[in-house]
């Protein structure tokens, strides 16, 4: 007996018990679709984070001061990084959080006090007006450049350039608006306000630099610059390694993507367990089916069915059941992914290989959990089976 008639026969028996078959399949459907959805979400967020980090530039290093009581990094210190070999430019940052007022509009934003070189180092662009210039820093000008979101919050769709905003009761002239860049790692790149370093130092009443962005000449120089920067910091602040950190985007990216990969694997694993549970459901129903159809097995055997005919019949039935569930699960998984994408705005990245794997796994589950009941059916004694009522 060929495979095709067996599949047809299995399909008939599955259709003969629609509700039961559907409930059995449900285990597979949920298993496969959750594998697909969870892995898609995991991959989506991983890709999102990676692309955000990439946006920052791969030849960028960041020096962060975590403990500003111990490590007081001055502008002069920061400028020493510029002298290291392989460094193209640096941008020192004084940061804080301020509330900005414009008429009735109020916005809580991150303050970034920096120099003109920030534009090149962080690769930002102004969509209108101009960026900060060296002369602004020198003369401690009360001017600001608004991030895209900040500008929209304060001025709506009007042009903010040339207008004034209030920070802590002081008026600042808006000279430019940044083009939207998207956020990364909890800090929105658009929800900011930029002002000259010297102005920010006065506003936040601190002389300390919290962050220095260092741009290397090329990506291959990053490690060289990193070593140099660490040596310089060790020289400036001996025995204080815990108070500052130097990292580059590649390290960060590797860390983040390994975390994301672990998360994806974990999500996939949990979903995989539900596939296994679905398989047990199939085995359960196949065992019921075998005992229900003992008489049928007896008749078939009396008519001349060999063991393998009966084995194949029940095995094919289990596999058809599980693979139908798997196929519906794949469709459902993609559907749910689309819904999450369009309704909840999540980043979804489908993985064809994982989807295929989940489907094949459902097939495998059908075979593995189908063998035991099918074997039980095949081994039935025809006389006993015929007498069974």
């Amino acid at each position: 007996m060929g495979i095709l008639p067996s599949i047809k026969m299995a399909w008939r028996s599955i259709r003969g018990n629609k509700l039961r078959s559907f409930l059995t399949m449900l285990g597979m459907i949920i298993g496969v679709s959750s594998v697909i959805v969870l892995v898609s979400i995991g991959r989506g967020s991983s890709e999102q984070v990676t692309s955000q980090i990439n946006q920052l530039g791969t030849n960028l290093l960041t020096v962060n001061v975590m403990n500003s009581d111990e490590v007081k990094l001055t502008v002069e210190d920061a400028n020493k990084f510029r002298e290291l070999s392989g460094v193209k430019d640096i941008a020192p940052i004084v940061s804080g959080r301020v509330s900005v007022k414009q008429g009735a509009a109020l916005a809580q934003v991150s303050l970034i006090g920096t120099t003109a070189s920030y534009e090149a180092v962080r690769d930002v662009n102004v969509s209108s007006g101009r960026f900060l210039s060296d002369i602004d820093v020198e003369y401690r000008q009360k001017i600001v450049v608004l991030g895209a979101t900040t500008a929209q919050t304060l001025f709506g769709f009007g042009d903010p350039v040339g207008q004034y905003v209030q920070i802590d009761g002081t008026s600042f002239k808006v000279v430019g608006v940044l083009a939207s860049k998207g956020g990364s790692l909890g800090q929105s790149g658009d929800d900011v306000i930029l002002m000259p370093l010297s102005t920010a130092q006065r506003l936040t009443k601190t002389m300390n630099i919290q962050t220095v962005y260092i741009q290397a000449d090329k990506a291959s120089d990053v490690n060289l610059v990193m070593v140099g920067a660490k040596r310089l910091l060790a020289h400036l602040f001996p025995n204080n390694e815990d108070s500052y950190s130097v990292f580059n985007q590649q390290d960060l990216m590797e860390t983040v993507s390994s975390v994301a990969d672990t998360m994806t694997l974990m999500l996939g694993g949990i979903a995989g367990i539900s596939l296994l549970v679905g398989g047990i459901g199939i085995m359960n129903i196949m065992l019921v089916s075998v005992s229900e159809r003992t008489k049928e097995i007896g008749i078939r055997k009396a008519i001349g069915a060999k063991r393998r005919h009966i084995l194949l019949q029940f095995l094919v039935e289990a596999v058809v059941l599980s693979s139908c569930g798997g196929a519906i699960g794949v469709v459902l998984g993609f559907g749910v992914g689309q819904v999450l994408k369009s309704v909840m705005g999540m980043t979804i990245s489908y993985s064809p290989s994982v989807s295929l794997l989940a489907f094949l796994f459902s097939l495998l589950v059908g075979v593995v959990f189908g063998v035991f009941p099918a074997n039980k059916a095949a081994k039935l004694d025809p006389i006993q089976a015929l007498r069974y009522e």
Partner: protein
């Protein structure tokens, strides 16, 4: 030419800790084209004998040659092939598969033979025609009367052209009128050359056969018919 040649066949099995001697050294010969009725009350061992003749079970000792082949030493799958090719079963309660149509039920033995769809469909249809059910080929068993169901079962038994037709109480679940119809078909088939072994407890039915064999307490007590001399009928 002997179709069935049973020599000194014994079979015991254990039932609830007790050993039951179902067959105690039975010998039976059936010629090709014969029509034998095996009669006996329940518990006489006739079901066991029918399982033996039908190759559903193997004897403990003695020999059973079916169409010249020794059955006792065969493996399960070999027995399945023998059942498929040499024996057509007709059961008391029809034993049709309820989810398959009449035609599909009749096709079943040919499926296990590995025959192509078209071929087996044609043969199955011809067999249903032979038992007068050409109008009902696509009906499910529960849409047919008892007599019609038994005729489907006979068609299924015939479809593989087995040399032996083994009928176990074929009229047991039917009223007397349909019983007569079924027995009429049986007789016709015998006239066409089929060897028929009929197992029953009903002497009325047994009388239709050419030859009657009585079984009691696991032994064949007497035989009547043209093969072995004559004897009175109880």
């Amino acid at each position: 030419m002997l179709m069935i040649d049973i020599q000194e066949m014994t079979k015991t099995y254990r039932l609830g800790g007790e050993t039951v001697h179902a067959l105690r050294g039975i010998s039976l010969q059936v010629k090709r084209g014969d029509f034998v009725a095996i009669v006996g009350p329940s518990g006489s061992g006739k079901s066991t004998l029918m399982n033996m003749i039908g190759c559903l079970d193997r004897p403990d000792s003695g020999s059973y040659r079916l169409d010249g082949k020794e059955v006792r030493t065969m493996k399960d799958d070999e027995l399945a092939v023998i059942r498929n090719q040499k024996i057509g079963f007709v059961f008391q309660n029809f034993n049709l598969l309820s989810k398959l149509t009449a035609l599909e039920n009749v096709e079943l033995p040919l499926i296990y033979r590995g025959m192509k769809v078209k071929e087996r469909r044609t043969i199955a249809y011809e067999c249903l025609e032979k038992v007068g059910l050409q109008e009902r080929v696509h009906h499910l068993p529960n849409q047919l009367s008892g007599g019609q169901q038994q005729r489907v079962a006979i068609a299924r038994a015939l479809v593989g052209h087995p040399p032996i037709l083994l009928a176990d109480e074929p009229t047991g679940a039917l009223d007397s009128k349909t019983s007569k119809e079924i027995m009429h078909i049986m007789k016709q088939l015998n006239e066409q050359g089929h060897t028929i072994v009929l197992i029953t407890h009903d002497w009325e039915v047994a009388r239709e056969a050419k030859r009657i064999v009585r079984i009691q307490d696991g032994e064949l007590l007497e035989e009547r018919g043209e093969f072995v001399g004559d004897s009175s009928i109880h």
